[in-house]
């Protein structure tokens, strides 16, 4: 049995934040869950996916976040408890649904989880999704710890049902990817079947209906504010004339900082876990007890601006500090010492910074950027395109996935990356206004997510570029989740369709479509050359399974290669052009690590001396 289905209330378990969140949802009786994978949220859906195989919980990997939210919104409006989770930028994709779903509300409890990523450990931006609560008018809860993340989940579902509105649940990477000891709670029964009762004047958002629903939303916000005033997740700690208002993980650093500075008798803390709509009365009362207040929040000054507005309305003149150059930045994530220093500076408390040794005499330590794996098909495809485009002036728009790593030298095969699916769309613009050859790259999962619309646009508007679809048979970057093109029988799972990328591309009307096997180097280069010479939109589908995925499926059969020292003349094309991590230099000679070599044989095909040969069995 899956450990998160354990039915023994009170038992202690060491859980990853994302596992604790999944457990919280199960304790809340969630019956329906949908997602598009994205770090740092991925292990929540992985846990629910695993549990759905051995219970009546319904779980699906949807095509993208917008679809995932639509799927869950319908389930919730049929009275079933539903959850939809995604990374912060995923909510941009789903925002169209979110904004009007707020008007419509829900019947069964619905939680929409957004996993923000301050410092961008694995994201293209560090947007603060608390603004989505303000923008949509939906209630927002945000835990400070792993334990609280679990506790807050049943609360969020109950709150959603009580208000008839979806609840936004915001985490940050340091919640998702922290571990702590969690005490299991009771499991609530899942109600998996619902019913939808027609009521077009409540559910069909035409202008006349929406005008009424907006009124309803504002009334719901008032009710939500009352809930926030009495929420156990809006808590106060300590006594004194100095006040700290904080949220999320900042609370941990603030609480530790106040203790470390020995100022527990001087500082009172208001931690807001239910932070939209804000409990205005609670905040007013808190401010009334303080002479000076410091707002500690990662990201944007969301609380700071709101608290200042509340103070102004109440005629309170006390200083309220937050994002200033000498205190806190809007950039990146906070840490305990930074917050301790901020508290000391704000309130004039003597403070000695931790003594970091002088590291100015350290030698340069070689960087260790993540690289494409040994046996990664993307490397082979990039090589083929690079060779085929030799002599041409090119622009390479790319997309979000492992293949983005190809932007680093020596591959240098990504020039412009914004967001999921943008390679196809941006290729349209580049090809129209420049005279360069535009070759765009997109992964299979990203193609389904949002690349298809860009390709349709290209065919309709008669743009001129080549789209290379890197089809490695899985959503590799986030941990090998399925997508609509995946063969689910490989995972021993039945009851799934399978969409052919080639059929989709042909149906869109692309005239020049070629499927290549990138490990066949010569043939691939020829095929790409033809595609590049085609006037109009051409598509290359490069098919080869992700090497890590093949390993997990036990499908890997390749034999490692070695360098024959008698034949090698040390041209080093292999290392210089491919940069495969299986290569290393020993006494200035190229060697291949047989433990890492995948046996893709790409290097063997480009060696001018044919010096790379299979290891004898």
């Amino acid at each position: 049995m899956h450990k998160l289905l354990t039915d023994s209330p009170g038992q202690k378990m060491l859980l990853l934040g994302n596992e604790a969140i999944a457990r919280g949802a199960i304790e809340a009786g969630v019956a329906f869950a949908s997602t598009y994978p994205g770090t740092p949220s991925s292990e929540i859906s992985l846990s629910l996916f695993q549990m759905s195989k051995e219970s009546d919980l319904y779980f699906e990997y949807s095509t993208n976040e917008k679809v995932a939210l639509e799927v869950a919104a319908a389930a919730a409006n049929a009275g079933v408890r539903a959850m939809c989770m995604m990374k912060h930028v995923g909510l941009n994709v789903a925002a169209d649904v979110l904004m009007t779903l707020a008007y419509l509300g829900c019947k069964g409890g619905m939680v929409i989880l957004t996993a923000d990523d301050p410092f961008m450990f694995s994201s293209q931006n560090e947007q603060d999704n608390r603004y989505y609560a303000k923008l949509s008018g939906l209630p927002l809860v945000e835990p400070s710890s792993v334990e609280e993340a679990k506790e807050m989940m049943p609360y969020a579902f109950d709150l959603s049902e009580k208000l008839g509105e979806p609840v936004l649940f915001r985490t940050t990477t340091r919640i998702n990817h922290s571990n702590a000891v969690v005490r299991l709670g009771n499991l609530r029964e899942r109600k998996c079947k619902g019913d939808f009762v027609k009521n077009p004047f409540a559910y069909v958002c035409v202008p006349a209906v929406s005008r009424k629903l907006h009124v309803r939303l504002l009334e719901n916000m008032d009710s939500a504010r009352e809930e926030a005033e009495k929420s156990p997740f809006n808590l106060q700690k300590g006594e004194g004339k100095w006040g700290i208002i904080c949220n999320g993980v900042s609370y941990n650093y603030a609480a530790d900082g106040v203790k470390d500075l020995g100022t527990e008798d001087k500082v009172r803390i208001l931690r807001l876990g239910f932070s939209h709509p804000l409990p205005e009365k609670m905040i007013r009362d808190f401010l009334g007890n303080c002479e000076k207040v410091l707002i500690i929040e990662e990201g944007e000054p969301v609380l700071e601006e709101a608290v200042k507005a509340i103070a102004q309305e109440a005629g309170l003149m006390l200083p309220i500090r937050g994002k200033t150059p000498e205190l806190f930045s809007r950039l990146y994530e906070f840490d305990p010492a930074m917050v301790r220093k901020g508290i000391a500076t704000c309130f004039g408390i003597p403070y000695a910074a931790p003594a970091v040794p002088d590291l100015s005499d350290l030698p340069e330590i070689p960087q260790r950027p993540p690289t494409l794996c040994a046996g990664c098909s993307h490397r082979a495809t990039y090589y083929a395109v690079k060779k085929a485009a030799e002599g041409k002036d090119t622009i390479y728009p790319s997309d979000i996935g492992c293949y983005t790593l190809g932007f680093l030298p020596p591959l240098s095969m990504a020039d412009f990356v914004i967001c999921m699916g943008a390679s196809a769309g941006t290729a349209c613009g580049f090809s129209k206004v420049t005279d360069k050859k535009v070759v765009a790259f997109i992964g299979d999962s990203t193609f389904f997510h949002s690349g298809i619309a860009g390709l349709i646009n290209a065919v309709f508007n008669q743009h001129n570029f080549t789209l290379v679809i890197l089809d490695n048979g899985t959503t590799a970057m986030t941990g090998h989740q399925p997508h609509p093109g995946v063969d689910m029988t490989k995972l021993n799972m039945e009851g799934y369709g399978r969409i052919s990328i080639e059929a989709v591309v042909r149906a869109i009307g692309v005239e020049h479509v070629t499927v290549i096997r990138p490990f066949r180097v010569g043939k691939s280069i020829e095929a790409v050359k033809e595609a590049l010479d085609f006037e109009g939109v051409s598509v290359i589908i490069s098919q080869e399974i992700c090497s890590l995925y093949a390993k997990s499926l036990k499908e890997h059969k390749g034999r490692p290669f070695r360098v024959n020292p008698g034949k090698c003349k040390n041209h080093r094309n292999c290392i210089d052009d491919l940069a495969c991590p299986a290569f290393y230099l020993q006494n200035e000679r190229v060697m291949i690590d047989p433990e890492l070599c995948w046996g893709c044989a790409v290097c063997a095909q480009i060696c001018p001396e044919n010096a790379i040969v299979p290891v004898k069995k």
Binding site: K12, L14, T39, P40, F121, S122, S144, S145, V146, T173, R174, H177, S178, N179, A180, V181, V249, Y251, N252, Y253, A255, D256, D335, P336, A337, M338, A353, P354, A355, V356, P357, D358, L359, D361, L362, P363, E364, I365, P366, Q367, R368, P369, P370, T371, L372, C373, C402, L405, P410, L548, I575, D576, A579, P581, F583, Y584, L585
Partner: protein
């Protein structure tokens, strides 16, 4: 209870996360409050994996620069890179078996000398325990057991508020059964090696 802060740095694939998990489970067995955070994006693609483990009465799950009581590096250049987490009293444990970053393998960067790495760490921290953990892991029966060798060395320092018995119990129950004996042997070898360091 007093707060103890441990940082572990490793290269993806070295088993850092399993080591952290074993330490966390040991704390759970010992009824010691524990919070851990990990940055493991792209771990399988050769990047750096960092775990922060905080024992005792603290709310934070991360560790600021200069505040680690114990730094454990699974790879020598990564130990050096993480020195910003140390202060003059920090104990450092480092594996001495290098994994060349790809920038070094292709001749674009130079790997610092092992002797220089050790001198620098000694000069800037309280104490350095350094040895070839890969060799000991091989001796234990599996090169992948580098993580358990280093957990053994951590246990020997006595800096963590955890007992050897509980460490062994966690290894027995929380690592794969097929590897439990090798892991326990690796733990003992790491413990003995740290003892030798005096």
């Amino acid at each position: 209870m007093d707060i103890t802060r441990l940082i572990i740095v490793a290269v993806g694939g070295q088993g850092n996360l399993l080591a952290s998990r074993v330490i966390g489970e040991t704390a759970l067995l010992s009824d010691v409050p524990v919070r851990m955070s990990e940055i493991h994006g792209m771990a399988q693609r050769g990047g750096v994996v960092e775990s922060a483990i905080v024992f005792g009465d603290a709310e934070s799950t991360i560790i600021s620069d200069g505040e680690a009581d114990l730094l454990v590096g699974f790879e020598p250049s990564e130990t050096l890179r993480a020195l910003n987490k140390c202060n003059g009293r920090t104990t450092v444990i480092s594996n001495l078996s290098p994994l060349s970053p790809f920038t070094v393998t292709i001749g674009k960067a130079v790997y610092p000398k092992l002797s220089q790495i050790q001198e620098l760490i000694r000069a800037k921290t309280g104490r350095l325990i350094a040895f070839d953990a890969r060799e000991l892991a091989e001796k234990a029966g599996n090169v992948m057991a580098v993580n358990m060798v280093l957990v053994g060395a951590m246990a020997q320092t006595g800096i963590l508020p955890l007992t050897v018995e509980n460490f062994k119990e966690a290894i027995r129950t929380k690592t794969k059964k097929a590897f439990a004996d090798i892991n326990l042997k690796a733990f003992d070898l790491g413990f003995a090696e740290a003892e030798k360091a005096g």
